[in-house]
Symmetry: D2
Subunit: 128 residues, 4 copies
């Protein structure tokens, strides 16, 4: 499946209102507008929301470098929440660090309103 088809199949991202806003070789951006129903108790985005868009950006960035016909699955990821996820628009920028035959390692930075880094992820994706 292509990056676009894979994204379209991720119903959680549709539920959240996320959009696929950039696809290049090894680089994928996912954009999310703030919605109150994606927040935690203090009104910022929930860490699970931030993780969802960052994981998806990583997975699709990995997929963008795989042979046609490949699918991608998350093996594991680690995310640091650097600042409260407050803003109107959040972009998760997934980038491939190293593409291997089986495993691809990616990072994603999540940026609020084009200026504030609010989270960073380091993830391992697997081709299948």
């Amino acid at each position: 499946m292509s990056v676009e088809e894979t994204f379209a199949g991720q119903k959680l991202l549709a539920l959240m209102g996320a959009e696929l806003t950039r696809v290049a070789r090894g680089e994928v951006d996912i954009t999310l507008r703030f919605r109150d129903d994606l927040a935690q108790q203090s009104g910022a985005l929930h860490a699970g929301t931030v993780a969802a868009i960052a994981d998806t950006a990583c997975g699709l960035a990995a997929l963008s470098m795989m042979d046609e016909g490949s699918g991608v699955v998350s093996v594991e990821f680690k995310i640091n929440l650097l600042a409260p996820a407050i803003g109107k628009r959040f972009v998760a920028k997934g980038r491939v660090v190293r593409a291997g035959r089986t495993l691809t390692v990616c990072t994603a930075d999540v940026i609020a309103d084009d200026e504030k880094l609010i989270a960073t992820m380091l993830a391992t994706m697997m081709r299948r």
Copy 2:
């Protein structure tokens, strides 16, 4: 805020239909029934959904051991997705590993249909 109040304030968890099903000192369970709109392209729960309930279980387990009046924020977490998140009912069991003055380290196992371990998390939470 109490564990129950904090959970009630997490709108993402309400959007997902998650429930707070167990609260003990240092131990919190979050239960989620499968819904198609929480899935990824293959039909299993999205890693972001799994991370959301595991992170919440960790955060609330940490909060359950803090002084009254404390709040909790996720510093970082790492999750391994061990098997496809396929099932009817998922329980994220958050447990405190070490409670410190400022930082509390927790794990969460996510179990499908009372029998299959599908993910495990190691997380750092901060009191504020």
Copy 3:
């Protein structure tokens, strides 16, 4: 290579004076006696020392469940340093959480003087 042969080939562990003290299916213990030259600036074991024995315990626990002729390589690990690594004797207890065809996920707890948990690791190992 067997667990014992693999351990014997790890010269860093010999340099540190670490010993392989338990091997069972999916469970390996590595024991290290405190030495001043393995410490950091405050006199506790360096996080790199703690990570070295925990990573080795994870890798060998994974190897213990693989087919004969397999080798093991660390894909990634995350470690939380829970308390200063102060003590006379440290045991890193590696345990397999899930053994897959290609990837095996392990945890390791590092315990000082048989009583104090000073670190915990969550790691991904690969068969080759």
Copy 4:
């Protein structure tokens, strides 16, 4: 303690023959020459060796941005081993991603022979 004094107090790094080769605000490089006694069973550097220099580069990068009189301790780190640590000379480049009052988040890339990225770390450091 200064970055230089803190490095000088880390006896593990002396045992490994590592050197502090660059200190700037928020950026610290640690350089290590390959030695056979720092290796694992296949002859590459042990993951524990790689983690030790990366963790130190992260910790000292964090320390370089803290008030005088501060010390630094590793809360946790995650490292992906991207390629076998084969080479003559390894540089761990620690960089601060976000410096907070209590916690500082850092990354470190480990580069072999000035050209090959062999590992990347994402770490949380604490002031004390």
